[in-house]
């Protein structure tokens, strides 16, 4: 697949952000310290870069790409520019899974999160498989999401100690700090399968630009398209929420910003949104590392702080146009 120009620019930006991300952290080590003449510095630099900054950078990219890509797919599927991965309930159920794992101390939160995401995926796929319409899927997602949020609050309510509640809340805010290669190994394979499913929806989403009847008459199997979209979202977003917590607004904002730059074509929007999501989340993660707040600002808080006003502005703009 040849990359469109916006995608190319985003790929270059992402490379620059990766270099920046590798250079910034709690210690003043820089990437080139691995070539230092001092054997001690060399060893520490290698350790910091490889064990701390690399997994963090990789997870920020994976989570951002998953959110951006699934946001673009779900906006295309619902033909609604205000859709995001949250509307199908995957994020909330993955978060609930992680919180329950915390609460009962069963598995790691990450494994619980993945179980939650897959459960959401299985439910939605079962629904989509029974040829439920897109609206039904979204409504089911909203119901699923509300239930998951309520159960998450219940877990907080019944937390064994204030410290445990605190820990859960902190986890829910979303972060890629202090993640290890084991997190990457857990999340990345599932996310990658999800990306493959999501990327295969481009042709169908393009046809959907003119409505479900036109798409179906052009030979698009709508049930299969819905299946790919929800399964891909469940795998990629579920895996990323499981290791990075809930991160809002990336999936909403990124496709929105890029749609005009790719001539409104969903086929070109998908790779651009994946790259754009990765750029935005990595940039946000670099920003929280640099922000002069006492405790490190949580990534989900940072993206919501920027995203919520943007969302409001978009809603007002759309309402104004109508």
């Amino acid at each position: 697949m040849s990359l469109s120009r916006p995608a190319l620019v985003l790929a270059i930006a992402l490379a620059a952000l990766v270099a920046l991300s590798a250079s910034l952290g709690a210690s003043r080590l820089r990437p080139w310290d691995v070539l230092s003449a001092d054997e001690g510095v060399r060893a520490v630099a290698g350790l910091v870069l490889w064990e701390i900054r690399a997994p963090r950078t990789l997870l920020a990219i994976a989570a951002g790409a998953s959110l951006g890509l699934s946001g673009a797919v779900l906006q295309g599927l619902t033909r609604n520019p205000l859709a995001d991965p949250g509307i199908v309930g995957v994020s909330s159920l993955a978060a609930l899974g992680a919180v329950l794992a915390f609460h009962f101390g069963l598995w790691s939160p990450a494994a619980g999160g993945i179980a939650g995401g897959l459960a959401a995926g299985a439910l939605l796929v079962a629904l989509a498989g029974r040829s439920a319409g897109t609206l039904t899927l979204v409504l089911a997602g909203v119901a699923l999401s509300s239930l998951a949020v309520a159960l998450t609050s219940l877990a907080l309510n019944l937390a064994p100690s204030p410290m445990a509640a605190f820990e859960i809340m902190f986890w829910l805010m979303g972060s890629v700090a202090d993640r290890s290669w084991s997190h990457v190994a857990l999340a990345l394979p599932l996310a990658a399968i999800g990306w493959v499913l999501l990327m295969s929806t481009g042709r169908g989403l393009a046809a959907l630009s003119l409505g479900e009847d036109v798409a179906a008459s052009l030979g698009i199997d709508l049930a299969r398209l819905r299946l790919l979209a929800v399964a891909g979202t469940a795998l990629s977003v579920g895996a990323c929420v499981a290791v990075a917590g809930s991160i809002g607004f990336v999936g909403l904002v990124v496709p929105h910003l890029l749609r005009g730059l790719v001539a409104q074509d969903p086929r070109r929007l998908l790779p651009a949104s994946a790259l754009g999501g990765a750029c935005l989340l990595l940039a946000a993660d670099i920003a929280v590392r640099l922000a002069p707040t006492g405790a490190e600002l949580k990534l989900g808080v940072a993206t919501a702080l920027v995203g919520a006003p943007f969302f409001l502005w978009q809603v007002l703009r759309l309402r104004g146009a109508a």
Binding site: S209, L210, G211, D213, V214, S217
Partner: protein
């Protein structure tokens, strides 16, 4: 000579028979008008032939091949459908919207042929000059023409059009009917749902009048739309004239109290 045939086509939804054993043949080279009151089953007739809904019983044949046996993409290359209402979800360019009609052909990756088909379709509806404009900048009628061009760009053998003239001004309605005649003259099958009985009487080779899911009458416009048929299906009387040897028909008045179709202020 590949015809499109509905054979005992029956479609039920929630216990109601939307189509009731319709037997109808659309022939290459002719413009077949499909008329009938609201809820008569016109749209369902087209949707079933476009593969958007399965029939409850009966079959639809394209040149002897059951439509349902064709793979979706092959069916999409053979049958093109223009829905009654369609809005673009995004503010796309006109040419990009029309280009979606080439999706069923994208396995061949013949960009030159696609480009020609898109240009031909835009030219046919008189929107070639607007190719690079954004859809929201067009009027409702112009958008309807772009969507018609999208359906033409498929260059399918069978063209199913659900009220293509509803949003058009009189000049463009006549231009559209002329266009359908030219498309049919290429040996293709053209089925057009129309509400305007005058347009149907003047521009269709044959007319199928649907009433309550059944094929009430079928034939040349004068026969299919005779007084008895209009009285039964619509509860109306029409005035008729002949102009330059062609039928002109205009709905004139409702018959009797028309109790069930009465509108109260």
């Amino acid at each position: 000579m590949t015809t499109l045939r509905w054979v005992d086509a029956t479609s039920t939804r929630g216990g109601a028979r939307i189509l009731d054993a319709v037997a109808l043949e659309a022939r290459p080279g002719e413009v077949l008008g499909i008329v009938g009151p609201n809820g008569a089953g016109k749209t369902t007739l087209l949707r079933c032939a476009a593969g958007l809904e399965p029939l409850s019983s009966g079959t639809i044949l394209v040149g002897g091949t059951p439509l349902a046996s064709l793979p979706a993409r092959a069916r999409a290359r053979l049958v093109s459908f223009l829905p009654q209402q369609a809005e673009a979800a995004w503010p796309m360019r006109v040419a990009d919207a029309v280009a979606l009609g080439r999706l069923p052909h994208d396995a061949t990756r013949d960009a030159a042929r696609d480009g020609e088909a898109i240009a031909r379709a835009l030219d046919a509806v008189g929107m070639a000059g607007a190719a690079s404009r954004a859809l929201p900048s067009l009027s409702g009628g112009e958008r309807a023409l772009v969507l018609l061009a999208r359906a033409l760009a498929v260059e399918a053998h069978v063209l199913l059009l659900d009220e293509p003239c509803a949003a058009l001004d009189p000049g463009r309605q006549l231009a559209a009917m002329d266009l359908f005649r030219r498309v049919a003259a290429q040996g293709r099958v053209v089925c057009v749902v129309l509400h305007d009985l005058g347009l149907a009487a003047r521009h269709c080779d044959r007319v199928a009048l649907l009433h309550r899911g059944r094929l009430a009458t079928l034939g040349v416009p004068d026969e299919a739309l005779d007084d008895a048929a209009l009285a039964q299906a619509y509860g109306i009387r029409a005035v008729r004239m002949r102009v330059e040897g062609q039928a002109l028909l205009a709905p004139w008045e409702r018959l009797g109290a028309g109790a069930s179709r009465e509108m109260r202020p």
